[in-house]
Assembly symmetry: C2
């Protein structure tokens, strides 16, 4: 599992509570990774049990108490070990492909509608990425600190992916018009 390692990395970068990590996921959601607060709290618990994280309970006034998690030496080692292992390219299973595969059962018109719908969603995603770029990554890459370049490259992958998909959709629409 990789969520485990992403949380490890987030906590390594900055000591955090489950709530804060969940918010980070919500903000970066889509162009990188997704996780619900349940998943986050559960993983934090598992990681703490395994000794890869430790936490201290912090009392607050005006807000409920919280648990601040920090990475341990063991956690750092586990992360580095995982990092050095080669990563399998993720399988990209798109249910829309099932619709292509089986379109003749239901009708090409309906497939066209499904494709148009998927296109609209993808266009919205790309627009959101472009807005993030315009807002946060408008300076030339050479001027960014290394950490920012790296995160920007993850956004660039998201954009490249959506653009490639949209070009494919153009081609598909052309074929379906015939």
């Amino acid at each position: 599992m990789s969520l485990r390692h992403l949380i490890l990395a987030l906590v390594a970068a900055r000591e955090s509570t489950g709530y804060e990590i969940t918010k980070e996921f919500d903000e970066v959601a889509g162009f990188f990774w997704r996780a619900t607060h349940q998943q986050v709290y559960r993983e934090l618990g598992t990681l703490a049990d395994a000794g890869l994280l430790r936490f201290s309970e912090v009392e607050q006034h005006g807000k409920p108490d919280k648990k601040v998690y920090a990475i341990t030496a063991e956690g750092r080692k586990a992360f580095a070990d995982w990092f050095r292992e080669p990563t399998d390219p993720p399988r990209a299973a798109d249910p829309l492909m099932i619709k292509f595969f089986a379109a003749e059962l239901v009708g090409i018109d309906e497939l066209r509608r499904q494709l148009a719908n998927a296109r609209a969603r993808r266009e919205a995603i790309l627009a959101a990425y472009e807005a993030i770029q315009a807002q946060h990554y408008s300076e030339p890459m050479k001027e960014m600190p290394r950490w920012k370049q790296l995160i920007f490259m993850t956004l660039r992958l998201g954009m490249a992916r959506e653009r490639a998909w949209l070009e494919w959709a153009d081609e598909s629409e052309k074929v379906l018009r015939t």
Copy 2:
């Protein structure tokens, strides 16, 4: 779940046994979808229990007996209903992005190695897709029957995806060299 619907579509296209469907998955594996034989047999059972498929046991000589599954009217309807629902674009979570995100914890050199490794795998995948195209889809698309066009488009998406990734990798390698 979508595997359910893919199996429904496969059985609708041609009455099949679990074994045959598993082989279809192995052959199409990667450019479309993946499933183990366990998953396939389990889904077939579930679908039959739900009345979306029915099966007849066929005795064979020289080979173990088999169950041949066919789609029911209910199954056809369930598939069509699913088809008409809009599909969420799948979240594309790539663990390599975690490595970009957290590279400074482990070192940029190691990230470069990981990127080179991922590139090699992606290049192999693209080469495999291109081989499939050369072998099975070498004629102009206009000359293909509709069903073949549609399946070819799923392969084209796989190729578009890998090419986009490789272009992104070029860009990333350039940035990491600085």
